[in-house]
Assembly symmetry: C2
Homo-oligomer: 351 residues x 2
């Protein structure tokens, strides 16, 4: 299917949605995106794996990066797309083919933008961070990702969501001594000992903190607990997995120390960690963008790829069509008004 | 292999051990037992499935039931048997082919015992209670199991262990509300709520209670805990499985009420329950037996099939060769002195 970037935006959106692109199978959609962008003489197009990058080279003072991922979570009987009552329904309509459609339309329309623009359409976002193509590109070709400001077109209901929180996970394992449960006093119950770990989590009061003017609300939660050998054995170990979501004013050392302090006396095993991103809304380019878009920016709570741009020194915000609470839902659907709002605001700012 | 019931006891023991009889595969051993007992004219032999029952019919005033199971837990590279330093090593040496060997030897030797005797060699003890052949026989042919006193030849290091404790298991499930862990305040963490369940178990002080002169030590223990959906989701449920081991002075209603009281405010789901057995050592026949065996009787903590005899109105004790703490261990081994001690004491009492 060929994509008509200059035609009706809703038609373009539905065509993109109807090209299935579950993570690992982005090829056909990446082909269609590359084919649609390649003929545009104001853009230099690069294909790297299933990622397509198109850049203007007008020698402007500033460069804006606008990015969206092509992949979706698995289809749940919700394709092909369907338009009803001003909503486009179907897998990927919220996360995040609306943003991809708006970006592709603008990539074609903005032949002489006021800032140079790098359009990025990338793969493998909905899977392990190590497979995300931005991980590869940040290492192999960082110059393709850099700029003065980045907009990740993840769903935000067409509001600006600044930065993102960090996330880490760790396990706490209590150790006991196994014994037959008919002679419990010969053993030591590791599950009972985990009660103290849960008690600390229960009593934990998360911070809400302002960073660059936006309020971030942290959270420290058990997300898993496992213990037990058999129905007649005193358990010798119990493992609690904890997820800490932290505001972008914490660096890695601070986040780890905070967990260690909370679980003082226990050995923690850290499983993964992704730092947050400060919203960076105090920069002049960000202020211009906010003025063009309007509305009050809010904090982004979930971790998103804005943190990757932040790590490269590029302030980044989330801004795109669709309600983020519907991401991955079987009934995800995006209002067409969100598409127009995002397209028009970006065109105003970049036109 | 044919079993020589009147030959050397250690040889008989090792021959029995060397006929593998993991639960469900008792056939060859049951065949050998039946073949060895059938020619003995002082015994009436019944085969029911893989259970063999042999009874004297001398018209004595009293009948003693002596029982042992033929099956073992799975072999762990510990067969064939091995004799070293007065210990016979190998699967089943402790649980409980030593008792089986002593019983078979006595069944042949005691042609004119002072009490009538019912010898029971049964199958499927090391598996679910519903598969235990005593469950079937208690329902279909209870007359084969009844008597005035029963001795279950489970390992007790040749001491008398009276009665047994009861056991029940229940689950407590806490319910929360799932949410993305980046927005934990939209959900409710069911694992954190399980902290209160563990707190009550941790604070629980089990009773030690005397029943018919023996001290029983109870226990209330979490034996399993499970909760969690994914690393980034607030868990909506957490299930704690609790095992209550209770003294034989509690009946079913009392045991259930005690658990409900401890977990007041939670819904409990009871999974299984097996009542204990009072030691019944105040009966005249039991006193005679104790006098013949000697030593101080102690309480049996684990649940055993004595409870089945107790439920049929037959007081029962555990008495057999081998250290019960080695039951099911890969290095289980039984001192030959235990075999002789049990054989000689029973011969004294029944001769």
């Amino acid at each position: 299917m060929s994509l008509d970037l200059r035609g009706d935006l809703v038609r373009l959106f539905r065509d993109i949605v109807d090209i299935e692109s579950v993570s690992g199978h982005e090829g056909p959609l990446a082909d269609a995106v590359e084919a649609a962008l390649a003929p545009l003489s104001h853009l230099a197009v690069v294909r790297d794996g299933d990622t397509v990058i198109a850049r203007t080279g007008l020698g402007r003072d500033q460069r804006v990066v606008i990015a969206g991922h092509l992949d979706t979570v698995p289809v749940a009987g919700n394709l092909p797309s369907r338009l009803a009552d001003g909503l486009v329904h179907g897998r990927g309509t919220v996360d995040m083919k609306g943003g991809v459609a708006v970006a592709l339309g603008l990539a074609a329309a903005l032949e002489q933008p006021s800032k140079d623009i790098t359009w990025i359409f990338y793969d493998h976002e909905e899977v392990a961070a190590t497979d995300n193509s931005l991980t590869r590109l940040a290492a192999s070709r960082p110059e393709l990702l850099t700029g003065d400001f980045a907009i990740l077109m993840e769903p935000t209901s067409a509001r600006v969501e600044g930065g993102c929180q960090g996330t880490l996970r760790f396990t706490v394992t209590t150790r006991g001594r196994a014994a037959h449960s008919a002679r419990a006093w010969r053993g030591h119950n590791a599950i009972h000992d985990a009660g103290e770990v849960l008690r600390r989590l229960e009593a934990y009061r998360p911070r809400t903190v302002k960073v660059d003017g936006l309020s971030y609300r942290e959270g420290m939660n058990a997300v898993d607990i496992r213990g037990g050998i058999a129905g007649n054995v005193i358990p010798d170990s119990c493992t609690v997995t904890v997820n800490f979501r932290f505001a972008p004013d914490r660096d890695e050392a601070d986040a780890l120390a905070h967990c260690r302090e909370l679980m003082d006396g226990y050995d923690l095993e850290f499983i993964d960690l992704a730092l947050g991103a400060r919203p960076g809304l105090d920069r002049p380019l960000a202020r211009d963008f906010l003025a063009a878009v309007g509305g009050e920016p809010v904090a982004k709570f979930g971790w998103t790829d804005v943190a990757r741009f932040s790590a490269l020194g590029v302030p980044a915000v989330n801004y795109g069509p669709g309600d983020p609470l519907l991401a991955h839902a079987d009934d995800e659907a995006c209002p067409v008004t969100d598409l127009y709002a995002c397209r028009d605001a970006l065109a105003r700012w970049l036109g």
